[in-house]
Amino acid sequence: MRRFRKLALAAAGGLMAAVLAACGSGTTSAAGPSGTLTISNESGGLWQCSFNPFNSSANFLSVGNVYEPLVFVNALQNDQTTPWLATKWDWSNGNKTLTFTIRSGVKWNDGQAMGAADVAFTYNLLKKNAALDLNSVWSVLDSVAQQGTDQVVFNFKAPAVPYFFYIADQIAIVPQHVWSTIADPVHYTDAKPVATGAYEVNPCTPQNITFTANKNYWQPGLPKVAKVLYPAFTSNDPANNYLATGQAQWGSQFIPNIDAFYAKKSPDHHYWFPPIAQVSLFPNEKVAPLNDPVVRKALALAIDRNKASSVGEYGYEPAGNQMGIVTPTFQSWVDPAAQSAAASFNYNPTKASSMLEAAGYHKGSDGIYVSPAGKRLSFHVINQGGYSDWVATMQVVIQGAKAAGIEIIPDNLSANDYNDKLFNGNFDLAYYAETGGPAPYYELRQWLYSANTAPIGQQASTNFERYSDPQTDSLLDQYGATADPAAQKQIIAKLEQVMLTQVPVIPVTESVDWYQYDTSHFTGWPTPQNQYALPAAFQIPDMGQVLLHLSPK
């Protein structure tokens, strides 16, 4: 999961012997779930056996498979929705009211019925305990209340259509009869979750979590896989070995030289890395002369994105583009005008130099440009020292910038130090990736919305480059107020122009969802042809959807 990467031993060796245990070939004679699936997802530590769906370090283990949200929103297929615990939903009152109809006949795994009261309770629990509100939905919500027997009404302070994703897809519904008795839900471990999902925890140890099928699951005939094992992998090598030897069937991390190490070992071994967000250079708007758009544009021109992708990222992560749109995932959002303008940002250090000279910058004796105010174009870039691919990519960036007469000095920091400097704005340039969302809007808002930022020295939640532009803010607000896809596309086209003319952020590569899958014992995996969910095992709640689609051979 984490991209903590080391030089893995690319050990060849035709093994795959019959010794391999626990693959559980499914004997699908009778009805009912069968087979054992093993997940290999490097999590960086041993399990602490907490399944609290509102704990940011534990919820990737329980949201989707154990706890379920109202609606599944597919980030790979343009926000496409699938009803989950809600059957219907409607915006009304000028997109300020959202009404969900809650599914009937769903039971918690302790036998009690799930209903609208539980849903209303869950959201009000987040209101009461702000530390549980990991998506800050109460920054836009005004009230949540049950209406009639099976409806829940969400009232917003202002139109906030994009928050549908956070509210309906990212928040798991918890049982009122259990959680109302918990004195401190923030510190609640939740070792034995009472939930509606297809799987139950049974048991959890620091080394392994066993999820077993919920026999009374509300979707008839599901899940088809009886047991899911989730061993705790503290680093990539053993996790990759488990995949290569077929001991695990579902992988979610970086594998160096993946064709030789994994794909060639068996015709059933496959991988797919769909891009979901962008890894970008964030120029600090409060640092002169980075506050000059000309310098940022020259920097954008001086980055060889294709080389960054092939050299830094082994070609696994595609090159980014200056529009700020992840392609091909969000290709339908790309405005044709922006597409051609983005091409003018192809690597061209000579053009970058002449652009700087036209703006009054002159070259010093060391080949580095000096601003009209006398400042050398020499910047430190903070980077995650533990991500070897990011460090390698930065070398490509540095070479390109040097060719254009801009000096970049890398500061490869420990995660704590890096985060501290990033959040507080103590950097010239930062190399960083946001989480994005199911449409380009989410990442653009994380980058550019001025309400997300903070003065230098105070922690910003996003927008670490401290960009602030009233027009951009108003575009983002307009997007939030409309549910009309055509209008949304027009707004995104304008935001693409902001990215191209202001260059507040410089995308370098696209970050991907790491995913390997083994078809020898299970079918129904997400594939490039069938992109029904984000495929990595750490994606919530998508991993629950994947488990519901899998069946033993």
């Binding site: 031993l9 050990a11 060796g13 093994l15 012997a17 245990a21 626990a22 054992t36 530590g45 041993l46 602490q48 907490s50 704990n55 940011s56 370090s57 534990a58 702000a130 530390a131 509100d133 990991l134 998506n135 800050s136 956070y166 923030v186 510190h187 471990t189 048991p203 140890t205 620091p206 080394q207 392994n208 066993t210 094992l229 061993p231 705790a232 992998f233 503290t234 680093s235 090598d237 053993p238 996790a239 070995n241 488990y242 030897t245 995660a415 704590n416 130090d417 985060n419 501290d420 400097k421 959040f423 946001e434 989480t435 994005g436 989410y442 997300n452 903070a454 922690q459 939640s461 996003t462």
Partner: protein
């Protein structure tokens, strides 16, 4: 007796110093537990939610550093370490789950390495110049020079990948529950063979070399010659005269390494994905999990200090000179 009291006084003083450093160091690190959480959930939290999280973690509560320190010492003395900021489980419980694995693997391997290494060293010195002496010590010294993770990787390639005889990772197969029955125990033993082998290969040489060299010096002493002259049996000279006097440096080293067993072997746990406290410590540092970090550091410090104290006592018993000195 005075000697022991002096050692005890030293023990208490060191413990206090260690506790204080343990309190200060995490607070000097950049960032905070809330920053670590923000990093996990970047892009979604508003600053309001961040403050709520900070409050729930009990940090940035405007409590003065002095009162925090007093509270910390009080909690430590009463063994109340608080809850982990990652899972909100009691730290003591989390550590208790991991420590048996570390003690079993690293503890037993350390004892075996010490006994084997000291024995081989003693015999090699006794028969110095012989076949044993010219082959074993150099081989073991080369083993000591090899990086642990490299030996571990080679063992994995040889015995888990090319020849899939042994498991590549974890302390027990994911499908098997930890229990006191033969299938579980044999599975755990299989998982322990490679990490223990790698630990032995890389650690035994130190014991062999120290023991051999000290013993060679001791064998040149007059009292050894005297013993020979008296016509004492060789076995008695080797064990009671030479080895007893030569083992002192090794014993101190052994006590130290027993103390460090508690800290786990981070590299073992990393290469073999073996459960234990070593990796837990790394994880705690990465997530700025102060309560977990403090508990682990304290455990390590106390274990080392107690081991050193025991070594002092053992030295006093073995060597009368240390009792009367000054």
């Amino acid at each position: 007796m005075r000697y022991l009291i002096r050692r005890l006084g030293f023990f208490v003083l060191t413990l206090w110093a260690a506790l204080t450093i343990n309190f200060l160091i995490p607070r000097l690190m950049p960032g905070s537990p809330a920053t670590a959480i923000l990093a996990r959930f970047h892009g979604r939290l508003t600053p309001t939610a961040l403050h709520a999280i900070e409050a729930s973690l009990g940090i940035n509560t405007n409590q003065g550093i002095a009162s925090q320190y007093v509270q910390y010492i009080g909690n430590t003395v009463t063994l109340n370490f608080g809850d982990s900021v990652q899972s909100f489980q009691p730290v003591a419980k989390i550590v208790a789950q991991a420590i048996p694995w570390t003690l079993a693997l690293v503890g037993i391997t350390t004892i075996v390495a010490f006994i084997l290494g000291t024995g081989i060293g003693a015999i090699a010195a006794w028969k110095r110049g012989g076949k044993l002496d010219s082959i074993l010590p150099p081989v073991f010294v080369v083993g000591t020079g090899l990086p642990y993770f490299w030996v571990g990787m080679i063992l994995i390639i040889l015995f888990a990948e090319i020849n899939p005889w042994l498991p590549v990772a974890l302390g027990i197969d994911p499908g098997i529950d930890v229990a006191f029955n033969w299938p579980a125990i044999s599975n755990m033993l299989q998982h322990a063979i490679l990490p223990a082998g790698a630990l032995l290969i890389t650690s035994i040489g130190t014991w062999v070399l120290t023991m051999r060299n000290t013993m060679v010096t001791t064998l040149a002493e007059d009292y050894i010659r005297m013993a020979r002259a008296k016509g004492l049996p060789n076995r008695r000279i080797m064990v009671d005269y030479a080895a007893r006097n030569s083992i002192l440096p090794n014993l101190t080293g052994f006590a130290m390494s027993l103390g460090f067993v508690v800290s786990g072997a981070v590299l073992v746990e990393d290469v073999f994905n073996y459960p234990g406290v070593g990796f837990m410590l790394v994880q705690a540092v990465q997530n700025e999990d102060f309560p977990l970090m403090q508990c682990l550091f304290l455990l390590i410090t106390v274990a080392v200090l107690v081991a050193v104290l025991l070594a002092d006592i053992a030295t006093a018993l073995l060597d009368p000179r240390t009792r009367t000195a000054r």
